[in-house]
Symmetry: C2
Subunit: 185 residues, 2 copies
C-alpha cells in the first residue's frame, strides 16, 4: 500500500498512537488502514462412501485436486459462503453442513473453515475455476496430487473419523512458512 | 474507497470480467481491490463458578459489559488472537481454549469466534480499552448492560450448558440489520 484509498495521498507505515503494531497511515487525512486475515470457506461433500474433489484451473496449484472452497464475501455467513463456493466451483448442492476443520494458516494470514456436508445429488460439473469434478472413494483419493496441506488434513481426518462415526471439529494452526506445507507431488 | 492504494489513481466500482459481484477497480493500473469479512476473536474466561467481563471504554457501546475480544491481526492464529485480546483488554491470562461460539454477524461482515477458556489467576486489571474488569457469578451478570447480542448469547449458552457439563460449539448466523441485535438497556 502506497496511497490512501480515501483521499489519494501517500501513506507512511508506523505505529499509530495508542496502538502496538505498525499500520499504513495517511499523511494527509490521517486515516489508519488496517489489514486483517481473510476467511476461506468450503465443503467436504460426501455422497455415500465417496467425497467430491475439484481439479483446479487457477493458480496457485493449477491442475491439483482440492475441495470446493474460496474467499468468504461480505454480507454472507460462513455457511452460505461454503455453499456458494461449492456451487460455483462444482455446480453442486450440499446440505447438513457441520463445521469440521478450522485452520489458521498463519504465514498467509488466512483462516480456513471446511464444513462436512451431504452432497444432495449427482448433478455436478466443473465450474469456472475448475477443469474436472469427481467423486472419489478412499482407495482412489489422489493423495500425491492434492493442492494444499489443509485439504490433505481434512481428507485424512474424514477417513479416520468415518471408522468411528464421530466427526469432531479439528482445530489446527499451521505456522510453518508459506509453501513448505504444500505437499509436493 | 475512492483511490487505488497501489498507484493513487481513481477507482471505479463494477463487476470485473469473470467475476459476479462489483469490486473497486483501478482506472489506471487495473488492480482489483477486494473487501472481505473480518474476524473478531475473544474468550469467555471462567474462574470457578464465575466469568470475567470487561466494561468498554471505547465506542461502540462504551460503558457496557463485554467479553474480551477484538479484531484478529495478520500473522497470528485465531487462538493466539483470542489470548492476545484477553491480555490486552483485561491483563488476564487464559488456558485450555475451546471454540465455543462461531457467529457470522452478516450485516456488518464480521465473524466472531469466542473460546471458552480457563482464567489462570486473579491477577487481572483493566486494559487500555476497558474501565473495569470483574468476575461475575450467574446471578450477578448485568444482562441489561451487555454490549452486544453475541455476548448475551455466549453467556446464555454457557450458563445453560454448565448444567449438563457439555459445551458444544454454538454456530449462529445473525442476519438482522446492524443495530437491531444490540440489546437496549
Amino acid at each position: 500500500m502506497k496511497y490512501c484509498n480515501l483521499c489519494g495521498s501517500t501513506v507512511r507505515f508506523e505505529i499509530p498512537s495508542g496502538d502496538n503494531r505498525p499500520r499504513h497511515i495517511c499523511n494527509h487525512c490521517g486515516e489508519i488502514h488496517y489489514s486483517n486475515p481473510k476467511i476461506i470457506a468450503g465443503c467436504l461433500p460426501v455422497y455415500e462412501d465417496k467425497v467430491l474433489l475439484c481439479k483446479r484451473d487457477i493458480e496457485p496449484r493449477i491442475g491439483f485436486w482440492t475441495l470446493p472452497a474460496g474467499y468468504m464475501e461480505n454480507s454472507e455467513s460462513t455457511r452460505d459462503a461454503a455453499c456458494r463456493e461449492t456451487l460455483e466451483e462444482a455446480n453442486a448442492r450440499v446440505s447438513n453442513l457441520q463445521l469440521y476443520t478450522l485452520t489458521s494458516i498463519v504465514p498467509v494470514s488466512q483462516v480456513q473453515m471446511l464444513y462436512l456436508a451431504q452432497l444432495d445429488d449427482l448433478n455436478f460439473s466443473a465450474g469456472d475455476e475448475t477443469t474436472d469434478v469427481q467423486l472419489f472413494s478412499e482407495a482412489d483419493i489422489p493423495w500425491d496430487d492434492l493442492a494444499f496441506q489443509t485439504i490433505k488434513n481434512a481428507l485424512t481426518f474424514y477417513f479416520h473419523d468415518r471408522k468411528t462415526g464421530h466427526f469432531p471439529l479439528h482445530h489446527v494452526d499451521l505456522t510453518i512458512p508459506a509453501g513448505q506445507y504444500v505437499e509436493k507431488p
